[in-house]
Structures are given as structure tokens and as C-alpha cells.
């Protein structure tokens, strides 16, 4: 039964057809991703959600235990949940903004006309592809409270030294600092984004007598907001899932001060053989990251500028 007059119906006709055609086209183009998601991702995700309500060890037949896993975590019976969550949030808060600012600045530098650009860029990118053992050792050496360069420099400047990764209070800031170094990927993405900014825009400002700073403020940063947005989201998604530094360097210490969330999860799954519990832990993380991402997405309209978004 239609409330719309036949005349309007006739007018809607082509529009609806067009909408349908758009849908079809859109889905067609996106079909690899959609099918991929359904085939490879959805199943395992649903399964792990189910497992989070069981006592699955990884090898037994799981039996349903309701909210027990979640209850253990939230009630504090599991002594590591809140600690690792706090530790991880602390790390994310410290590392994500600093990593973005740092890699943005480096990308700016590497975007300039300097000789040997290619070499410089490769070198700055290196730390993020060199095996973690090499990175860990260098930092263990540099941050060694007695022999390391870092404390020696601080001492010569008359500043107090730090225990770096050996101190409960200083381990997370130390790791956040180390993290700056492995932001090669972020830097590259910024570089690619910088390349996309049309030269004329800069030339226009130059002609108006604008300074370097003006260029940065009015052209570079606004044009880079889509990239900044991307790196921010990815930074958060990855920051919350940080793992190897705890696994390789600190073993979660000292005294659980670097017990990262995914390290705690991994331990539940593969050292204590409690896959059910690990899945619950994973899904709580999922919810947190999802919530944060949605918030950032929603606020992105206010600050992200897509040049290709004229009609939105």
C-alpha cells in the first residue's frame, strides 16, 4: 500500500533505479573486501567471541561457562586485568601523540630538497625493519643506567639520571621513547601524503609573501589531516596491541609495570592454556578500541579536510 501519489512514484522510479545501480556498483567494487571479510575474518571473530564464554584450554572440548571469564576479569579475581589495562592505556597516551608529531616532523625534513634524500630516508626507516633483537640490544645499551649514553648525557647536563626500563615508574616512558624510533611506517605514510599536496598551493602563498610557518599552518597541516587521521587511528589500534617489547625486553616487569595487555593475553592463552579467558580478554580490548575509534571518527568531521569531499 502506497501513500505516495502515482505521480511521485513515477518520479521516484529512475531515482530508485539509480540508487539500486549505485548500490550494485559499490558492492561490486568492494566485493573483494566484502567477500574477504566474510570468508576469512567473520568466522574466526564469531568463534573467538563464542569461546570467550567457555573454558576452552586450546585443546579440550569447550564447555559453556557463561560470563565467568568476564566476571573474573572485572571483579579483580584476575589480578592482572586492571593492571595491564592501566599500563597499556598509559603507554598509548604517551606514545601515540609523540609518535605522530615526531614522524610528521621527520617526514617534513625528509621531504625537503636535500642531497642524498633517498639515503636519508632509507636510514630513518631502517629501525622499523631491523629485527627486534637488534633494536632491544641497542636500547638496553643506551639506556643502561650505569654505562649507557642516555644517563651519561643527563649527568653531564646536571640532570637527574633515570633507571629507564629498570624502574617501575620509568619503564613505560622509556618504551614510549623507544617507540619513536620504530615509526618508520608512519613516517613513510606522511611522506606519501606530503607528496600529494599540489605545489601550486605553496606557490600561491609564496607569492603572497607567506612564511614557512604560514605554509605549514595553512597548507600542509590541513591538507595532511586525512593522513594524520589515518595515523592516529592506526596508532591507537596498534598502540593498544603492543606486545614484543614486553615479550623480548622486559617480560612485563619490573613488577608488572610493563605488563602490556596483549602480553597478558598471550600468557593466558599460551602459557596458562586458558584460551577461553584469553578470548574474553581480547574482546574487552576490542570493545575499548572500537569505542575510541568511533569517537575519533565522529569528531573527524570537525577537523579532517578531504579535498575530494566537496558535496559532503
Amino acid at each position: 500500500m502506497s501513500v505516495i501519489s502515482t505521480e511521485t512514484q513515477r518520479n521516484i522510479g529512475p531515482k530508485r533505479r539509480k540508487a539500486f545501480k549505485n548500490d550494485l556498483n559499490g558492492i561490486l567494487f568492494a566485493s573483494p573486501a566484502i567477500i574477504g571479510f566474510l570468508l576469512f575474518t567473520l568466522g574466526p571473530m564469531i568463534y573467538s567471541f563464542y569461546v570467550s564464554f567457555t573454558d576452552f584450554s586450546g585443546t579440550n572440548v569447550p564447555s559453556f561457562i557463561g560470563l565467568d571469564n568476564y566476571e573474573r576479569m572485572f571483579s579483580g579475581k584476575d589480578q592482572y586485568f586492571y593492571k595491564s589495562l592501566g599500563v597499556t592505556i598509559y603507554f598509548v597516551v604517551l606514545s601515540v601523540p609523540t609518535a605522530i608529531i615526531y614522524s610528521f616532523l621527520i617526514a617534513l625534513l625528509l621531504n625537503r630538497d636535500v642531497r642524498g634524500k633517498a639515503v636519508f630516508r632509507t636510514i630513518f626507516y631502517l629501525p622499523s625493519i631491523v629485527p627486534i633483537i637488534a633494536i632491544s640490544f641497542i636500547w638496553l645499551w643506551l639506556l643502561n643506567p650505569d654505562l649507557g649514553l642516555a644517563n651519561e648525557m643527563l649527568q653531564s647536563l646536571g640532570l637527574p639520571t633515570s633507571q629507564w626500563i629498570f624502574g617501575e615508574k620509568s619503564v613505560i616512558p622509556s618504551l614510549a621513547m623507544m617507540n619513536l624510533w620504530t615509526t618508520g611506517g608512519t613516517m613513510i605514510i606522511f611522506l606519501a601524503g606530503l607528496q600529494d599536496i599540489p605545489r601550486q598551493l605553496y606557490e600561491a602563498i609564496e607569492m603572497d609573501g607567506g612564511s614557512r610557518l604560514a605554509k605549514l599552518r595553512h597548507i600542509t597541516v590541513p591538507m595532511m589531516t586525512p593522513t594524520i587521521f589515518f595515523n592516529l587511528i592506526m596508532g591507537i589500534i596498534n598502540g593498544f596491541q603492543i606486545f614484543s617489547q614486553a615479550y623480548v625486553m622486559t617480560n612485563g616487569g619490573p613488577n608488572n609495570a610493563s605488563l602490556f595487555y596483549v602480553f597478558y593475553l598471550y600468557r593466558e592463552a599460551f602459557q596458562f592454556s586458558r584460551m577461553g579467558s584469553a578470548s574474553a580478554i581480547a574482546w574487552v580490548l576490542f570493545a575499548i578500541i572500537m569505542a575510541l575509534t568511533i569517537i575519533i571518527f565522529k569528531t573527524s568531521r570537525k577537523w579532517v579536510y578531504y579535498e575530494g569531499e566537496g558535496t559532503r
Binding site: 584450554s57 629498570f166 617480560n251 616487569g253 602459557q271
Partner: protein, 475 residues
């Protein structure tokens, strides 16, 4: 519109859920799976002209293991030797990086591709409880050639008092290793090699002090000694359970109380021992703190570079030491009251999903016999059968002091002292050990750093550890 999408979504969700249910259905009887023991070869008769009983079919076993390349080679040699002795058996060895072994194994099991024989870590206990692996007691019952008593008393991984996942396949023990030249230069007498002559703790500390020097050449008791500028440490003590447990035991303490119902480390005897080790760092200044220790690497290198004079750590380090040109020795551990120590090590498990339990059993026996993996037993590992500690001919094979991995005094200091004073290691004796240790470690971090006393730190975690304490398996 939305309805259309809804239909698609529900269809796909249903598909995924059915996948889920298929997966969770106890998938024990899937046929047509690859890997593990394969299809009985129908052309076996032609392959069996070896004169062995012709009722033997061709058997294929899958064996998963980890280890450095040297261990890998030893395993491969052992596999070849076994295949030679048993021509109808083919073993597919799969070398898997150790750090992620369980992930791989879980995947294999979930996909019904479980191996027949495998290296294992403490997670084998849960598998035992779940009925995934064989109880060695059952397997031994059917085999007259081997008895439980043949093995070291506590060299078992049990998941119940009478159910065993198997004996150690490789034993190690905590040892005291030292740089002979450093002792000679300092004019200090070498560590004793007989348990009866073991140093008391105070004697040990005194020796360590003589071997500790700051950058100005002063010893810890000299006036003007600078603990922040130590050039050479007397001793580097392992701060893991394999380091502090012998001392705890020698003081009459233990990981759990005697009835296995309470946490033992927070009790006076144990806490005192742990405190003494921490004092080596913060009071006696003869040992590096965890901070400094991070820059003093593996024992072999530490001794070689003369950063430390003595190291108390696992006997597997003898392998590395044997590769250096260092003049090194071994001694018995220092004690507080009585000499007590333990063996510990990993074991092989046999999965119940195997189609050839008999051959799997034979292979695991083969690997556990030091004769077949001899080279590794001459530095990295120690045997787990009693006769190898009692029969001189056998002793000579793996512990002869002519071997580079066995310095003078080894037989007394490491072999005999452990064999004659053996108690269970907490790792395979204490229920929920892995989880308790995960709570103890962080607590002790503060003790080593001198922020809390052992008693304080351990008492603090008592309540957290309490629900985990559920007794022991072996004793």
C-alpha cells in the same frame, strides 16, 4: 533494502555459526586428514624384504621439536639412526621455533593434524588432564624392558599422582661455574667439588668478596669501596627459581609447605634464603643487580670477559663454556644448612591420536636413551636414567672429564652431588607452577632491586597465590 542486506547477513552468520559448531564438536574422528600417521601403505609387502617380521606395515610418524641448529642436527641424526634400526618406520621431523611452539601445536591439534611424538613444556599437564596424551605408566606396563625405577626418582612430569606425561628426556641442574684463572690471580682457593665440603653461605660470600673489585681495585670491605663502580663481580646468581630454590631448600624451606597446602616461599626459611641472595647484590655488593646484569650477558661470556668470577646458573651453559677457550671449572653450590638440589628438564609426549602407539613409544624410548643423542649429553644435557649415574662405563660416555664440556671435578660437583641429594624441582612438582611463578617473579623484582625485603614482598602476594596452591604431583 535493509531487509535484503539482513537476509544476506543472516545467511552468512548462519554459515559461520555452523562452522563454529563443526569446529567445536569434539573432532576426534575426522578421517582424510593429512600429516601424522598416514594411510597404511598397501605396497608394504614389497618394501619389507628386510628379513624382519613380514607382518609389519609401513609406519609414518610425525615428530615435532624445537632447539638450536645443533640440537636440530642431533635430532636428525637420531631419527636416521632409528629409521635404520626400524626400516619399516619413517619419521617426519618438524623443527618448530620454540617460542611459539604451543601456538603451532594447538593449531595442529585443532585441525586434527596432531603429531605422534613431540617435545613438550608444562602445558602438557593440561593435555594430560584432557586425555590428549598417553599416560606413560600405561605404556611402561606393556613394555618389559623399561621400569619406572630405571629413571631418576623425580624425573617425571605427572598430571596426577599416578598419571605421567613422561620422564625427562633431557636433564639439567643448577651449577656453580667459575673462571679458574681469576681465582688463581686472586690467590683464592678453588670452589669445593664435593657436597660434603660445600661452602657455607658465609664462606661463599667471603670468597666472592675477594673476587669483587671496583674500578680502583678495592674489595667490598675495603674503605672507600665504590659500589657504583664495580669492574668485576664475584658472582652472578641466577635470579630465577633455578637459582634461589637450591638455597631455599638447603635452608629447610620449600616452594610449598610440607603438606602442600600453603605457599612456602613467604615462610621464614625460604624468605631468609632469598633475602641472602638479594643481599649479595645490595649489601655485600658482590653480585650485579638486574640492571647491571642486563649488560652482563650469558654466563659463558660473562666468565670469559672476566666480568664475573663465578656464575650460579643452569648446567646447559657447559655447552657454551666448552666452546670458549676459557679455563673454567665447576663446584658444588653453597648452602645454608643441608645440601639439596634437583634435576629439571623437558619430556616427550605421545598423542593419543597417533595411529601407531607402539612405534611412537619405541621412538620416544630411543630418544630418551643418551646413547642415541650422545653429543648433546656431553655438554647441554644430562641423562635421566639411574644406570647412567652408577655404571662407570656409562658415566665415562657422557661425563668423562676429558670431554670439553666436562671439566675436572664435574663428576663430583655436578653429577654426584645432584644425584645423591636429589629432591623434586618445583617446575614439575608444584601444581599450577607456571601461574604461581608468574606472580612470584614480579614480587621478587622488588626484592632484587632492594626496594622490599623478601619477606615483605612474598607476604604481599600470599593472598594472590593462595587460590593457586593445590599441592604437588610427585612428593
Amino acid at each position: 533494502m535493509i531487509r535484503k542486506h539482513l537476509r544476506t547477513w543472516s545467511l552468512l552468520t548462519a554459515l559461520s555459526l555452523s562452522l563454529v559448531s563443526v569446529v567445536t564438536a569434539c573432532g576426534g574422528n575426522e578421517n582424510g586428514n593429512s600429516g601424522s600417521s598416514a594411510s597404511p601403505n598397501s605396497n608394504s609387502p614389497s618394501a619389507n624384504a628386510s628379513g624382519v617380521s613380514d607382518s609389519k606395515e609401513n609406519v609414518k610418524l610425525k615428530f615435532t621439536y624445537w632447539g638450536s641448529p645443533q640440537e636440530k642436527k642431533a635430532m636428525e641424526d637420531a631419527i636416521k639412526a632409528f629409521e635404520k634400526q626400524n626400516p619399516n618406520v619413517k619419521i617426519e621431523g618438524l623443527h618448530i621455533p620454540g617460542d611459539d611452539f604451543l601456538q603451532k601445536l594447538n593449531a595442529m591439534i585443532a585441525g586434527n593434524e596432531a603429531p605422534d611424538v613431540s617435545y613438550s613444556a608444562s602445558w602438557k599437564l593440561k593435555m594430560g588432564e584432557e586425555g590428549l596424551i598417553y599416560d606413560f605408566n600405561d605404556l611402561m606396563k606393556e613394555d618389559p624392558t623399561i621400569k619406572k625405577e630405571d629413571y631418576l626418582t623425580y624425573a617425571w612430569w605427572n598430571w596426577a599422582a599416578d598419571k605421567s606425561a613422561g620422564p625427562f628426556q633431557a636433564s639439567v641442574t643448577p651449577t656453580l661455574m667459575y673462571n679458574v684463572d681469576m681465582f688463581k690471580e686472586a690467590g683464592v682457593e678453588l670452589p669445593p667439588t664435593k657436597a660434603e665440603e660445600a661452602w657455607t653461605w658465609d664462606e661463599f660470600v667471603a670468597v666472592a668478596k675477594q673476587l669483587t673489585l671496583d674500578r680502583n681495585g678495592k674489595h667490598p670491605d675495603d674503605p672507600g669501596f665504590d659500589p657504583k663502580n664495580i669492574k668485576q663481580y664475584g658472582v652472578k646468581y641466577s635470579l630465577g627459581w633455578n637459582g634461589y630454590m637450591p638455597l631455599v631448600l638447603s635452608n629447610g624451606g620449600d616452594y610449598l609447605s610440607a603438606d602442600g597446602k600453603e605457599f612456602g616461599l613467604s615462610k621464614p626459611e625460604a624468605a631468609e634464603a632469598i633475602q641472602k641472595i638479594a643481599d649479595l647484590i645490595n649489601v655485600d655488593h658482590v653480585a650485579p643487580s638486574p640492571v647491571q646484569a642486563s649488560s652482563i650477558p650469558a654466563p659463558a661470556t660473562a666468565l670469559q670477559s672476566k666480568k664475573v668470577a663465578m656464575v650460579v646458573d643452569g648446567s646447559w651453559n657447559h655447552l657454551d663454556l666448552s666452546k670458549t677457550k676459557l679455563n673454567w671449572g665447576v663446584g658444588v653450590l653453597p648452602i645454608l644448612k643441608d645440601y639439596k638440589t634437583f634435576f629439571h628438564g623437558g619430556s616427550l609426549v605421545i598423542f593419543k591420536s597417533t595411529k601407531h602407539p607402539k612405534e611412537a613409544w619405541e621412538f620416544s624410548k630411543f630418544l630418551t636413551d643418551p646413547n642415541n643423542v650422545l653429543e648433546l649429553h656431553q655438554g647441554l644435557w644430562m641423562p635421566q636414567m639411574k644406570k647412567w649415574y652408577e655404571d662407570p662405563a656409562l658415566i665415562d660416555k657422557w661425563a668423562s672429564e676429558d670431554l670439553p664440556g666436562r671439566p675436572a671435578g664435574f663428576q663430583d660437583a655436578v653429577m654426584k652431588s645432584t644425584y645423591e641429594h636429589e629432591v623434586p624441582a618445583p617446575e614439575n612438582n608444584v601444581k599450577n607452577f607456571v601461574e604461581i611463578d608468574a606472580a612470584v617473579g614480579p614480587a621478587l623484582d622488588q626484592v632484587w632491586l632492594g626496594k622490599k625485603t623478601a619477606e615483605q614482598a612474598l607476604k604481599e602476594i600470599e593472598s594472590k597465590v593462595k587460590p593457586l596452591v593445590q599441592g604437588t604431583y610427585l612428593k
